[in-house]
């Protein structure tokens, strides 16, 4: 049985991908475990830029779009009336206009048309990318087509698709976008353990509380990583009191030279020769040994 871990963080830029990638890398390099990383930050997937490997497969994510048959259409306007997102318009010149950017693919128009003038068409809203295994890591990542509004659908389908590989790996690490919405909730539901990443700022704390509410709603085991621990003038007291009162286990990733360097250079910390002596690695190793292995 593989262990499913979701790395989440209410706020953006707290270091979710940093934590996910480094945990994956440590599991592979130091613990010789195989890891599948599923990146559902479909607006801007970045895991593959940090763990570089070749693409093995690229699958389009398609949803319904109406195809209007002009010879059958009598301009009755039923499709316009029923479309719940106003993606269809009847213009005075006598034409039905389809606004692709608004369409959510529910196919209401298909069923609403009394003259069978609308048929099934399709539209690509995103892509699922699968990389070749490199060392012991495979990456599955979703990618939203710019301009498409259906990131939720792309996230869900990427997660669903990735399940075919789950059993082949010791660990599945799901990297999520910032936020606390539905697709993140789905990832949390599928997981054995949630790593909530935050930073010691007022905003980081505010968003951690919201994320914690979501994790608690689904009753999953949660551990907290406070990244950038040690930034001068950070807000420490509130977060520390909060995790204590909620009885959450906390790991602190110090804000030091190695952490900053590896973040800005986009390389996992293990790739630096001197990484063993830094607390960043020690802390993540501790997290892995105490909760994941």
């Amino acid at each position: 049985m593989s262990k499913i871990v979701t790395v989440a963080g209410g706020k953006g830029g707290v270091g979710k991908t940093f934590v996910a990638v480094n945990i994956a890398n440590i599991l592979v390099k130091l613990k010789k475990r195989s890891v599948l990383v599923v990146d559902i930050d479909v607006s801007n997937p970045c895991v593959f830029t940090l763990i570089k490997s070749d693409i093995e497969k690229r699958i389009p994510i398609k949803v319904f779009r109406p195809k209007i048959l002009k010879d059958k259409c009598v301009l009755c306007g039923e499709c316009v009336k029923y479309c719940p997102v106003h993606a269809l318009l009847l213009i005075p010149a006598g034409e039905i206009i389809f606004i692709e950017a608004l369409c959510e693919g529910c196919a209401m128009c298909l069923y609403a048309c009394p003259y069978n003038a609308i048929v099934e068409g399709e539209r690509i809203i995103g892509w699922i990318n699968v990389t070749r295994d490199k060392d012991l890591i495979k990456i599955v990542y979703g990618e939203l087509v710019p301009g498409s509004r259906q990131e939720g659908e792309v996230m869900e389908r990427t997660l669903e698709f990735s399940k075919r590989y789950w059993d082949d790996y010791d660990f599945v690490i799901i990297d999520t976008p910032p936020g606390t919405g539905k697709a993140i909730m789905h990832a949390i539901k599928e997981s054995d353990i949630i790593v909530s990443v935050t930073e010691p700022t007022r905003l980081g704390f505010h968003d951690l509380k919201k994320l914690h509410r979501l994790v608690r709603m689904i009753s999953k085991q949660e551990i907290v990583v406070i990244n950038k621990y040690g930034i001068p003038y950070g807000d420490y007291r509130e977060i520390e009191e909060f995790v204590k009162s909620e009885e959450l286990k906390v790991y602190k990733i110090p804000y030091n030279k190695l952490a900053i360097k590896s973040y800005f250079e986009g390389k996992p910390i293990l790739e630096y020769d001197n990484s063993v002596k830094f607390k960043v690695l020690k802390e993540l190793k501790k997290l892995i040994e105490e909760f994941l292995l």
Binding site: K11, G12, G13, V14, T17, D41, V42, S43, N44, C46, T49, V63, F64, Y82, P84, V85, A101, G105, C106, A107, M108, Y111, A112, L144, P146, G147, S148, R149, Q150, E151, G152, E156, P177, P178, G179, T180, G181, K182, A183, M185, H186, T201, R202, L203, H206, D207, K210, L211, R213, L214, M217, I231, P232, Y233, G234, D235, I260, Y263, F264, G266
Partner: protein, 296 residues
Amino acid sequence: MIREIVVASGKGGTGKTFISSNLAFFLKHHLNKNVVCADADVEAPDLILALGGVREVISEHPFYGTKLPVIDYSVCTKCGSCIRACRFNALHMGETGPVVDYYSCEGLGTCSLVCPVNAISFKDKIIGRIIVARSGTDLLTITGDLEVGESNSGRLVYEIKKEAHDLAASEKADYIVVDAAPGIGCPVISSLSGSDILLIVVEPTPQSLKGAIRLTKVSEDLGIKWYIILNKYNLNLEFSKEILKAFKSRVLEAVPYDFEVIVSYSRMTPLLSLKPSSMTSMALKNAFNKLLKVIK
């Protein structure tokens, strides 16, 4: 005329809230303009925290952003039409008839339309709250707060923008400053639609550059002019050059990062209020003055 400025970024944590809070403060307290702020990052709203916290809540109401199907099993014939029609796999056949998986349901209503015996009706569902408040720095702020685990953030963003415009009209505001969600998805597109200008906040990392380029595509599709603020440029001077090369004259200003930025968060005070003549503040003011020139 009301001008709407949207602050966004493809990647999270590059400094959207930092820039939008200081921009709003600058417009109001340095230029004496009337400003309405809108927090459109509805999954993690914290603009008002950066504006001095809540001084006074003016109004608060729930937002019914979606409809949930309710099946009347005394009428249902278990024909399965609704299950076949649903594009989100939110229905499956149970013992007494179709069962709705509320987590997958988008609430668009196709199932109700196709049901031959009209067994499916809808009830409204609250998906979030809308709060109008005055901040500690005297800025009128409208905040959308999406319930955890909800989708349809785009609809909440539309509503916030609509209410922000109503508010701006009644307050005779000159500007609306919208703090958008990270990414390029639905809530961001809703934030952008109908706005006058997009300010993209970039940090000097490849991930941020990649996200920003994706966002420029979205913006251009919508016909909205965009500009760049290069934030925290001193944290990676090498890569900052790449950003400047990529966006050239669209970069309004490079803003340095220093620990006073964190102090300003900690004190819940915009940096322009806390340290108005620091290096970072000077760069911010430069950026905002240039922005006002290009927006006209």
